[in-house]
Each structure stands twice: as C-alpha cells, then as structure tokens.
C-alpha cells in the first residue's frame, strides 16, 4: 500500500485527519489568544486591545486563589509520583519476566486500577483515612491516589517493553563474565532507558493534571487542577485563560524536554 500513487482515499482521509487536528488545537489556541485580552475585555472574542494584564492578575492573591502555592504543590507531587512510578513499574516489569505465584492476580489488579472510576478511589481513600484517623494531605492520600492511576500505565508499558526484549543480550553479557548487576546496569538499563523516560513523562503529566482522584484526598491545600476547577464556577474574567495558557505552556515544555531527553539517549546509544 505504501508505494502506490496517492488515491482518492488518501485525500479524503488526509482532510479528515486535518480536521481532527484542528478540532484538537483550535479551542486551545482560542484561549491562548484570549489570555492576552485587554483590561476591559471579556471571556469571548473580540479582543479589546492586547495586554499582559491578566497574567499580572494571576499573581495577585485576591484575584485567583493561591496560584503559586497550588502550582508548587502540584509540581512536587508530580515529581514524587514520577519517581515512584518509574522505579515501581521497572521492578514490576522485571518481576513479570519470570513466572511467580500471584502474577496473574497482580496483573489484573493493575488493570483494575485503570478501570475503577477515579471518584470511587477518591471516596475510598478519603473514607479509609477518616476511619484510621489520618488527616488527608496532598503528599500522603493524594499521592497514593495518583499512583493508582499512573502505575498501571507504567506497568503496562514495561510489560510491553519486556515482551519484545530479547534475552540474548543478557546471555551474551553473562557469557562474557558480567555479574547480574552489571548485566542489568550496563546492558538492560541503557536499552530500556527511552521507555523509562516515557513512563516518567506519563507519571508526571498524569499526576500534574489529575483532579478527580485528588478531590477527596488533597486535605486542606489544593493542587493546581483543583484550584482551576474551583475557578470555573466563580471566576468570570480572562484570568482563567491566563492560568490555562501558563499551565499549558508548562506542559508543553515538559513534553519537549522529555522528547529531547529520549532523542539524546537514543543518539548516545547509537554512537557507542
């Protein structure tokens, strides 16, 4: 199929694909533009002049809740979730390469973690903490709640990676006299590094944007998505869009940095 002349089918599908991309990016670009709304402008087009007023507004406490604090909490929480997701998924991926009792049950538990509605997990963890007498907080209960969402993704990705991983490389390393730790550190780890970076990206962004699971588990202080969710009902100025622009740009930077890291690791491996 790949070396035939372009058919009508190609042009129809290409148009469909273009529409899909416009559908994905169109609304996002609308709030991007509107966040530069003039001081007297409202929530919709047209622009009443261009200004940075709403970005400045973002950093005044009275205009939006605690933007700086909630951003910091989301950032730290995302990094915590990222590290734990990468390490635990890698370990679990290694475990699943061998047969062990309970492997199937654990695998399906991970899948269940993906399909159980997030609000149920939020409610359940909230009630458990209440009954045990712990105070819910973003770094304890919300941290655990986020892991139930990021770990299954990490485990499934590692599972897929090791399914395609030939044991021949490890056998070769062992034949050359490497210890099992050396084999892991110098052969396995470099080969799966790009996938691990991908798992890290998933862990961070899923946590950074998650809020259904944080709803009942964040305790006294809000994470950023909860703060934004609260704003949707009571903020009626373009400061909402400014916040949207800032967090979206931040997400884009994280994605770009990750892609850069994956490319860099891939290049370096190709050279050696």
């Amino acid at each position: 199929m790949s070396h035939e002349k372009r058919t009508l089918e190609f042009y129809v599908l290409a148009a469909f694909f273009t529409l899909f991309v416009l559908f994905l990016y169109g609304p996002l670009s609308a709030i991007l533009i509107l966040s530069f709304q003039g001081e007297t402008g409202g929530l919709t087009f047209p622009l009443n002049g261009v200004s940075l007023h709403w970005f400045a507004n973002l950093f005044e406490r009275q205009a939006v809740g605690d933007f700086g604090g909630s951003f910091k909490r989301s950032l730290v929480l995302g990094l915590m979730v990222m590290i734990v997701t990468v390490v635990v998924s890698l370990l679990a991926g290694l475990a699943f390469r061998q047969k062990f009792r309970g492997a199937t049950a654990l695998f399906y538990l991970a899948v269940a973690s993906l399909v159980v509605p997030s609000i149920i997990i939020s409610l359940g963890i909230g009630v458990v903490f209440q009954q045990v007498g712990f105070r819910p907080a973003w770094y304890t209960s919300a941290f655990g709640a986020h892991l139930t969402w990021t770990l299954p993704f990490g485990v499934l990705i590692m599972f897929a990676v090791f399914n395609r991983f030939s044991p021949a490389y490890e056998e070769a390393a062992r034949d050359l006299g490497a210890t099992s730790w050396q084999t892991f550190a110098h052969v396995v780890l470099p080969m799966i590094a790009p996938s691990l970076i991908g798992v890290g990206l998933f862990g961070f962004t899923l946590s950074y944007d998650e809020f259904a699971r944080t709803l009942m588990t964040s305790g006294t202080f809000n994470t950023l998505p909860l703060e934004i969710y609260g704003m949707t009902t009571n903020v009626t100025t373009p400061v909402l869009y400014a916040l949207g622009t800032v967090t979206t740009v931040f997400s884009f930077l994280v994605i770009l940095a990750t892609l850069g890291a994956i490319l860099y690791v891939g290049r370096r491996r190709a050279r050696t």
Binding site: A14, F17, I31, F100, G102, L109, L114, G144, T148, I255
Partner: protein, 303 residues
C-alpha cells in the same frame, strides 16, 4: 497482599537448595512487592472500605457502623437515580461510537497512508500532545468557541445564517458529548494504531490477488485484525465516560447529570454511605462492561 502470604511457602518448598538459588526464586516476589503493596493500600483497601461503609447508617454529621440495606434500596428504588444511570450509559454509548469512528480512521490514515516512520511518529505526537495537558483547561477552552457570543455563534450571526445565537451549543448535552470526544479520542487512536501497525502488509496483496475490492479488504481483513485495539480503546473510553463528573458539570452548566456527579454531590453533603452504595453499583456496572469486552480480547497477548 498475595506476596506476603506466598513467600514462606516458597522458602519451605526449596529448603535443600543453595542460598543463591532460593534468592533468585524470591527475586520476583521482592520486585513485585512495591506494586502489590501500593495497589493493596490505595486500591483494594479503599474498595473494601467502600463496600463496608455502603451498609452503614449516617446522619448530617457522621456515619455509624451498622448493617443496613437502606442505602441500596435508596439507590435502586429512586426513579431519579435510574434516570441518572441511564443518562450516563447514554453518554458512554454516544461517545464510544464517535471516538471509535474518529479513532479508527485517524489510526488507519497514520498506519497505512503515511509513508515514512519519522512522519508517522511526528503526526502521532501531534495527536498526543494535547492529551498530556490539563483536562479542565481543554474543557474551558470550548467556552470562547461555543458560547453565546462565541466564535461559532458570532460567525453564524455575522454571515446571516441564523437570526440569533444558537443556545444549545454550550451548557447542553451536545457540549458534554463534544468535550468528551475532544478529551478521550486519543485513548481510541493509540491502541488501534498499535494493532494496525502490526498487520502483515502481504495480507493485503493476498486479498487483492484473490480479487477482493478495497472495501472487502477493509471489512474482511483490516477490521477483524484491528478488533483487539478497538476493544482496548473501548475499555478506556467507556470507563472514563462512566466515571466522569467534571465534563458533565462544566459543559452542561448543571443541566445534566451523571452517576459520578451524583456521588460527588452526596459526598459534599457528607452522605458517604449513600455515595458508597452508588459507588458499589457503578463499580459492578463498569466491571461487568469490562469483563464483557475482555471476553473478546486477551489484553496480555496484545501488549
């Protein structure tokens, strides 16, 4: 949980072997222990707790351990609840059909019409990036587009196509479905793209040589082979829509309901046992749906 139970059994089964060997027998248990512990503490335990609490009594201030079935009879005996469940299933069905259609053709285009792998990856990333940004922001971003004075309405009025702005574009069930499709289509594209990429291209030539038309190839070769990907995408989309409360709340402007939104309202009124009973019913419903889909496909083989 299972790990803790089974580790002694392994040790007892291999007492005569040398230390090294028994260490490697224990290794997978040690490696999977963190996952088992986290999921045990933050998934299994909370679900067990919800089941327990769903039988408890409560008033406006607290809940009391008990064994009542009134929470369930309240859930299952109320016409409003039934309507909410039906409404949620309706959203799931509509969004599923739309995302399946869009997801399949986008994946098909990427897999079979893009000639170089590099271009495939670039276009796939273009589709992926928005899904890694905030869901709420992506919902809000529809407001300036669909609103009463939004882009679409002002364009239509300006062109003279409609006399006054269309009211049902925003804060309606239409807006809910549109936003859900916007949010969840990638969960369909990725697994279908994955299965399409693994189809052996020589099958198409074989089908063509045997005289099949383009549509016959699509219907008898591509779609049957893409079914596992469609099943995995369906699991994602259906469970996400069944669990959704934010999209329904924000995009319908409070005019529509979903089970999760009903639960959220009960929680904000501190009616935890009532919310727990709803949670159990919703969980059973979702797990039945997933089990039904898993009968069609073995996901362990598809990874």
């Amino acid at each position: 949980m299972t790990v803790a139970l089974e580790r002694p059994a392994i040790a007892a089964a291999a007492p005569s072997k040398r230390g090294r060997l028994s260490l490697s027998a224990v290794t997978p248990y040690l490696q999977s222990a963190p996952l088992a512990l986290i999921l045990g503490a933050f998934l299994l335990l909370p679900i067990i707790m919800i089941v327990v609490v769903s039988f408890w009594d409560y008033d406006f201030a607290a809940m009391y351990p008990d064994f009542l079935t009134t929470n369930y009879s309240d859930v299952l005996g109320s016409w409003v609840t039934w309507k909410t469940y039906l409404n949620t299933i309706k959203f799931a069905a509509i969004v599923w059909a739309l995302t399946l259609f869009i997801g399949f053709w986008v994946a098909y285009f990427l897999a079979f019409h893009i000639r170089t792998t590099a271009m495939q990856m670039v276009l796939f990333l273009v589709c992926t990036v928005p899904f890694l940004t905030s869901n709420i922001i992506r919902m809000i971003s529809w407001i300036p587009v669909l609103g009463r004075n939004g882009l679409i309405n002002s364009t239509l009025v300006h062109m003279g196509l409609v006399p006054k702005p269309i009211e049902w574009l925003l804060y309606s069930e239409f807006a809910v479905v549109l936003a859900m499709v916007h949010l969840y289509t990638l969960f369909m594209v990725t697994p279908i793209f994955n299965t399409l990429m693994r189809i052996d291209r020589s099958l198409f030539e074989a089908a063509r040589d045997a005289g099949a038309s383009g549509w016959q190839v699509l219907w008898n070769v591509v779609i049957p082979l893409a079914k596992p990907g469609m099943a995995i995408g369906t699991i994602f989309v259906v469970t996400l829509v069944m669990a959704d409360f934010s999209t329904v709340q924000v995009m319908s402007g409070g005019q529509s309901a979903s089970v999760a939104l009903m639960m959220k309202n009960q929680m904000s009124l501190l009616q935890y046992p009532a919310a727990a009973a709803n949670a159990v019913v919703l969980l059973v419903l979702v797990l039945l749906m997933v089990a039904g889909i898993l009968r069609i496909v073995d996901i362990r083989r598809e990874l």
